[in-house]
Amino acid sequence: MRDTPLPDPAQPPAVRADQYPAGRAAFPHKDLVGISSLAPWEILYLLDEAEQYVALNRQRHKHVDTLAGLTIINAFFENSTRTLLSFEIAGKRLGADVVNMHAATSSVKKGETLIDTATTLNAMRADAIVIRHASSGAVQLIADKVDCPVINAGDGRHEHPTQALLDALTMRHWMQGRIVPDGTKPLHEQGAGGFAGLKVVICGDILHSRVARSNILLLSALGAQIRVCAAPALMPAAMERMRVEPFNNFDAAIAGVDVVMMLRLQQERMAGSFIPSAGEYRALYGLTPERLALAAPHALVMHPGPMNRGVEIDSVVADMLGRSAITQQVEMGVAIRMACLDVLTRRARHVPGWRLPERDPAAGNAAVGDPAAADRPQDPS
């Protein structure tokens, strides 16, 4: 099997061969469970791989047969519409057979069921499994149990790596068309992927947000300056240890930033013990046009969706042409997920250079040669 050539190779830059190690060395991971395990160049590799799919998705014929014959299971143990749809479209545009498994959270809360589900999916010989689960660490638990690649579509408050990647891709697209205020260099020429020195503020429910954690890890790996802003009750402990600057005051946090990333406020936190009311939240942390004016004049507005219009973000800001990248984020999401599925299944598809080094056949099938898995301490398995 080979990679199907893209319909229009003249479109944006393919991944430059000289930029990354050859073959599997460019992305030597079995799974994509978190940004925390990725090196900066591995992040950039995924972003670069996604460019071809951004181009593909803008064409009328949005289909390749790269993953033809492979089965992808989307196992969502927590409700989701957008992410599930995005992964489903990504898999189908790559030509894979995509199956969605909706599992009510309640039925899988019980211990063995989660492991049993993983074993079941494994026995069905899926070629990739995409998992969302309400508990931090659940995806890693499953990834350790199955042979095929596992992609984390969000686990509890831990990580949501594809969201951070799509956000980074969105930012990079935006930067490539912009000049910094002092007018010297385009943002993208200033360092690693253009992110070095980029000022980003992430505002909202940082405590419960996996999007915030993955974005912090990714953006700090690429050298961005990150501020996080939340009410004290929604700010995790020891944030400064993650190389970010914590703020309680949004006006101070937003001053002069290049990117404003708003987080969704969950309904159950709006009234009750975390914040007094949605109205008061908007007063302190809502992204209004007046607040946006405090950011850099070119500042980009982002939101992972779905938005609570009038709570964390005003409609006029969310729909601001040229400033709001919220719909572009959704577009980049499909491309990023295509890139992740493509890269992680190369081993199974026998893409040259992506096969595992020869192994002793007696060594068993555990860990499937993932160097990270061998190091990873495991609880009973």
Binding site: E112, I115, G137, R210, R213, P236, A237, D379, P380
Partner: protein
């Protein structure tokens, strides 16, 4: 039942809270029936040669009282015998809870004769923290103390009444110190690790808050308060001050909190999911200091074997607890090796103090006491292997860790048990 023939343990280094006998002049421990008759320097060869008389050669090893494990969640005889434990205080958190005299009576008889269980009576019915349980009848059924179980009693009025009632009955109250409002659904201590892993976390101060209230209520009621685990510097400072001020308070800890800090939870290792959760390295050092300066009175195993159905889960969904009986003694001996405490204090922490708190005649090798004796090879190296433990489950955060010190032989009431 036929009384056991006399037992003589020779060539031992006798360990008590006052000191340890010199290796050059080994001591002989004489037991008759289930009791210790005395110690001597000489063997009366005429007596030991009598028919049926048992002589055990300790070959220069440490001879110490059987360990009294103050606070276990499961009666797990093979693990206890491996660990040198002859008596265990059973936490009321059973299914159903030990909140009813008949259950206490059953638990008290459960391990005999080779392991004595001292049930801890639930302070409130169903451990719900609202209605007082039948403490007097449970005492009569064999309960040696009253305990709040895995949780704290949030209602201060209930807690005061529990303490007053227990004080009247002369029963100590054993508490779990974690302010429930602050702790909420937390499974980790607030800090960098919990933040990175995205785990629900509570500030370490939840412990000191709970201790401060309980100390005040204890002073009001005059009860003997024993805080089962104190794991933070702030909490230990409060206990230290209260002791100096004359409050009847003692406290304990389990080896996990002086061996590990919250970094052990990395990679969502559910074997390191404990209650209270593992603390910062700073707090771990504070626990070690408190062990050295005498603030901490007891080291217990908190033995809570949990199989994969409880542990092979996402971290927050997994049950807390570790199988600790087998590693209790060697990890305590590690404190000796680190120069923090001496061997006599090991005896106090593991045997004498817990026996005193429970008001039982044990934990001492003196005439008239029950012949609960552990022969310990304090230097013997071994490696913890969670797959091959004696415990009902191998949920230890010390898997693959090399340790030193192991029970060579164990006697309960003069009879050799285990191994």
């Amino acid at each position: 039942m036929k009384p056991a023939p006399p037992l003589t343990i020779t060539n031992g280094r006798l360990l008590c809270t006052d000191g340890i006998s010199d290796a050059a002049s080994p001591v002989v421990l004489l037991c008759q029936g289930d009791r210790i008759v005395g110690t001597s320097r000489q063997i009366d060869s005429g007596e030991t040669s009598a028919a049926g008389h048992r002589v055990f050669d300790a070959r220069g090893m440490v001879v110490m009282p059987g360990i009294v494990d103050l606070g276990v969640f499961e009666i797990d005889k093979p693990a206890f015998h491996f660990g040198g434990i002859t008596r265990a205080a059973l936490m009321p958190d059973q299914a159903p809870p030990l909140d009813y005299p008949a259950r206490v009576r059953f638990a008290a008889a459960f391990g005999k004769p080779d392991l004595w269980v001292h049930p801890l009576a639930a302070a409130t019915r169903g451990l719900a923290g609202t209605q007082l349980a039948e403490m007097a009848l449970m005492k009569e059924a064999g309960a040696r103390a009253v305990a709040t179980g895995r949780s704290w009693i949030a209602d201060s009025g209930v807690m005061l009444r529990v303490m007053q009632y227990a004080a009247m009955l002369d029963l100590p109250v054993i508490t779990h110190a974690e302010d429930t409002g602050l702790a909420g659904d937390a499974v980790a201590t607030a800090g960098e690790i919990a933040t990175r892993l995205g785990l629900p976390a509570a500030p370490a101060e939840a412990e000191a808050l709970a201790i401060a209230r309980d100390l005040m209520l204890a002073a009001m009621s005059g009860v003997h308060l024993h805080i089962r685990q104190v794991t933070t510097r702030a909490g230990l400072d409060l206990v230290r001050k209260a002791k100096a001020g004359g409050t009847r308070v003692t406290c304990g800890v389990t080896p996990a909190h002086f061996m590990l800090s919250d970094i052990a939870m990395a990679d969502f290792r559910t074997f390191a999911r404990l209650s209270p959760p593992l603390r910062s390295e700073e707090d771990r050092q504070a626990v070690r200091e408190a062990l050295a300066d005498g603030t901490i009175d007891v080291i217990a195993s908190g033995h809570d074997p949990r199989g994969p159905e409880d542990k092979r889960l996402p971290f927050a969904d997994a049950a807390p607890g570790m199988a600790g009986a087998e590693t209790l003694l060697p990890l305590t001996l590690a404190l000796v090796r680190d120069g923090l405490i001496g061997l006599p204090r090991v005896c106090a922490l593991l045997c004498t103090n817990p026996a005193t708190i429970l008001g039982i005649a044990a934990g001492v090798l003196e005439k008239g006491y029950e012949a609960d004796v552990a022969i310990v090879d304090v230097d013997r190296p071994w490696i913890v292997d969670s797959d091959r433990m004696q415990a009902q489950a191998g949920n230890t955060p010390f898997d693959r860790q090399p340790l030193q010190g192991r029970t060579a032989a164990l006697f309960k009431g003069g009879m050799q048990v285990g191994q």
